[in-house]
């Protein structure tokens, strides 16, 4: 794997710092679309936080066969193709740069790949930086999930109630008693994940969130991912959501480059890191 390291000048290498590792946003090279990842790393390095950007196997400048099909990359990534490499990379960076731990993230797929390895990283994981995280499963995985849900309905009262109060063709038959059924369902079950969410990934995220690992989510306001991720986070226990901060960038797009999105994303990242890790950053570049 080939990567770029942004090391803050004058920083004490032995001080047990925290670092940020940004992964590829899909098949885009490690500098990011419009060099967004490079820009964010520059901004944070100016605040005293070492930043790392790496190309995963077969992407950018790393070795390995090129992905001739971006969808294939995404499908394999969701099945854990990159997981071991990311875990090994985090361990290497912590040892090599004497870091206490790492904040992990990236744009879109980069954020989702970070969530996938949450449990494997243990205490090395200090936080997530999720930029427009598209946590939907690919269509093939979604079909499997729909089938699994269909089968589970046969043996689960909750699933049966969900079907009877949903928007499918069978639910019409129960329309007269749907309000009562909904009340029963709400009392019995927590908020449900969207059917096409990557359940395993969300489960890992939920677990580390409950353990107090903070997340920064940056989304384009009122766009698709904004609403979707809100639904996902709403399934987390209410009391534990305090460690998740969502920043909505107005008039932005999925790659967070429209208008002044890049600047706003950089501002949000620096502010969040300075608040979350106050002992490890330098305010306004002083002392650099």
């Amino acid at each position: 794997m080939v990567g770029t390291v942004h090391v803050p000048a004058g920083a004490d290498p032995e001080c047990g710092r925290v670092g940020l590792l940004l992964l590829n946003g899909g098949p885009v090279p490690r500098a990011g679309s419009g060099d967004l990842s490079a820009y964010l790393s520059d901004r944070l390095a100016e605040r005293g936080v070492p930043c790392f950007r790496f190309d995963l196997q077969g992407l950018g400048e790393s070795t390995g066969p090129s992905w001739s099909d971006g969808d294939q990359f995404w499908r394999k990534a969701q099945r854990g193709y990159n997981d071991a490499a990311v875990v090994e990379l985090v361990e290497y960076l912590c040892e090599r740069f004497k870091l206490r731990g790492i904040m992990l993230g990236g744009l879109c797929a980069g954020g989702v790949l970070s969530l996938r390895v949450a449990r494997s990283l243990g205490p090395r994981l200090l936080g997530f930086v999720l930029l427009e995280p598209n946590i939907r499963a690919s269509p093939a995985v979604t079909r499997m999930e729909k089938f699994r849900r269909l089968v589970s309905r046969l043996g689960s009262l909750d699933e049966l109630l969900a079907m009877m109060t949903g928007t499918n063709r069978y639910a019409r038959l129960f329309r007269p008693i749907q309000p009562q059924l909904r009340r029963i369902l709400e009392r019995r079950t927590p908020v449900r994940l969207p059917v096409d969410a990557q359940k395993g990934t969300v489960s890992q995220w939920r677990q580390v969130t409950c353990n107090g690992v903070p997340s920064l989510i940056v989304v384009a306001q009122d766009r698709d991912i904004d609403h979707y991720i809100e639904n996902v986070v709403s399934t987390f226990p209410q009391a534990k959501r305090a460690v998740i901060r969502t920043v909505r960038i107005p008039n932005s797009n999925h790659i967070l480059l429209a208008e002044d999105s890049r600047q706003r994303t950089g501002d949000a990242l620096c502010a969040w890191v300075m608040e979350s890790f106050p002992g490890h950053t330098v305010v306004d570049g002083a002392g650099l």
């Binding site: 060099d35 992407l59 950018g60 480059l257």
Partner: protein, 290 residues
């Protein structure tokens, strides 16, 4: 502000067994550095080539194809240098501080790296899109051969990028207020910085682009070739040239999301054939001179 470390910067690609060396190279007098990757030839080098990529969103669309080509050429006995222009990708500096004229210096610096490493051996220029435009201008005074992929003139190239950016913006933000291409160009000419796909375009870039045109090597005995692509306007060569080759099997891979890599090896094959012909041509000249 911060430093970029350059250690651990050499590795061997397991697929080809070739060594890749990463370094930063000072260019110009503004303290700018280009990020440069030197792919060392397997065995004794037969020559070298500088791969000139494109700019803006084209850069990310072309990168992996350039990496694949570089590894293939190194495996076949050619030293290859590829790089990011100042202000782009892994290189230092802000995009709005640079323009086409500055980026020509970056190419010249890379030729210097190969000339130093390969004294007496031919060094060619390979460019794609904006890289082809810049390579054609540098080729007037340097290089032993050249291959230009989908070359365009400076301002039409920027206009094309702008058009694609506006289309993407319409799809990505259907309800947002947006400017027309004409309004954006007017803003550029009035001195405003304009955000195009995350890169800040300046008046200097826009005006400088007008002075850069794809240059057909006139009456040039050095081996050169133009490669066009499917559905891409043919380069205006002022008539048919033997060296003009149309690559019909490959589409505009630099625009193709989410693939971003040439789907077959035809571009690599053409490049290798051209490099071998350049190497043979230069050897013939050398023998004749002896």
């Amino acid at each position: 502000m911060y430093s970029i470390t350059a250690d651990d910067c050499s590795f061997v690609d397991p697929a080809t067994g070739t060594r890749e060396e990463i370094r930063y190279l000072d260019v110009g007098d503004d303290g700018g550095q280009i990020y440069l990757v030197h792919h060392h030839a397997r065995g004794k080098a037969r020559g070298g080539v500088v791969l000139c990529g494109s700019i803006n969103a084209d850069r990310e669309g072309c990168l992996r194809t350039l990496v694949d080509i570089a590894r293939e050429l190194a495996f076949n006995g050619f030293d290859v240098v590829r790089f990011d222009y100042r202000g782009i990708g892994e290189s230092t500096g802000d995009f709005d501080d640079y323009c086409f004229s500055d980026w020509m210096q970056d190419i010249e610096a890379c030729i210097g790296v190969l000339r130093e490493k390969l004294p007496g051996l031919p060094v060619g220029l390979w460019g794609i899109r904006a890289g082809a435009l810049l390579a054609s201008e540098v080729f007037r005074k340097a290089g032993d051969g050249a291959l230009f992929c989908a070359p365009m003139d400076g301002q039409p190239f920027l206009q094309g990028i702008l058009r694609r950016s506006l289309v993407n913006d319409m799809l990505g933000r259907p309800n947002a207020k947006r400017s027309s291409r004409e309004a954006i160009i007017a803003a550029l000419e009035s001195g405003e910085l304009v955000n195009v796909d995350g890169y800040a375009w300046s008046k200097r870039l826009w005006q400088d682009a007008a002075t850069h045109r794809f240059v057909v090597p006139a009456d040039d005995s050095r081996p050169w070739q133009v490669v066009d692509f499917t559905d891409f306007p043919r380069a205006n060569l002022g008539g048919e040239h033997e060296s003009h080759r149309r690559l019909s099997s490959v589409g505009r891979f630099w625009e193709a999301t989410p693939t971003r890599v040439a789907k077959d090896s035809s571009l690599r094959d053409i490049t290798l054939a051209w490099l071998v012909s350049m190497s043979d041509f230069c050897n013939t000249i050398a023998v004749t001179l002896l």
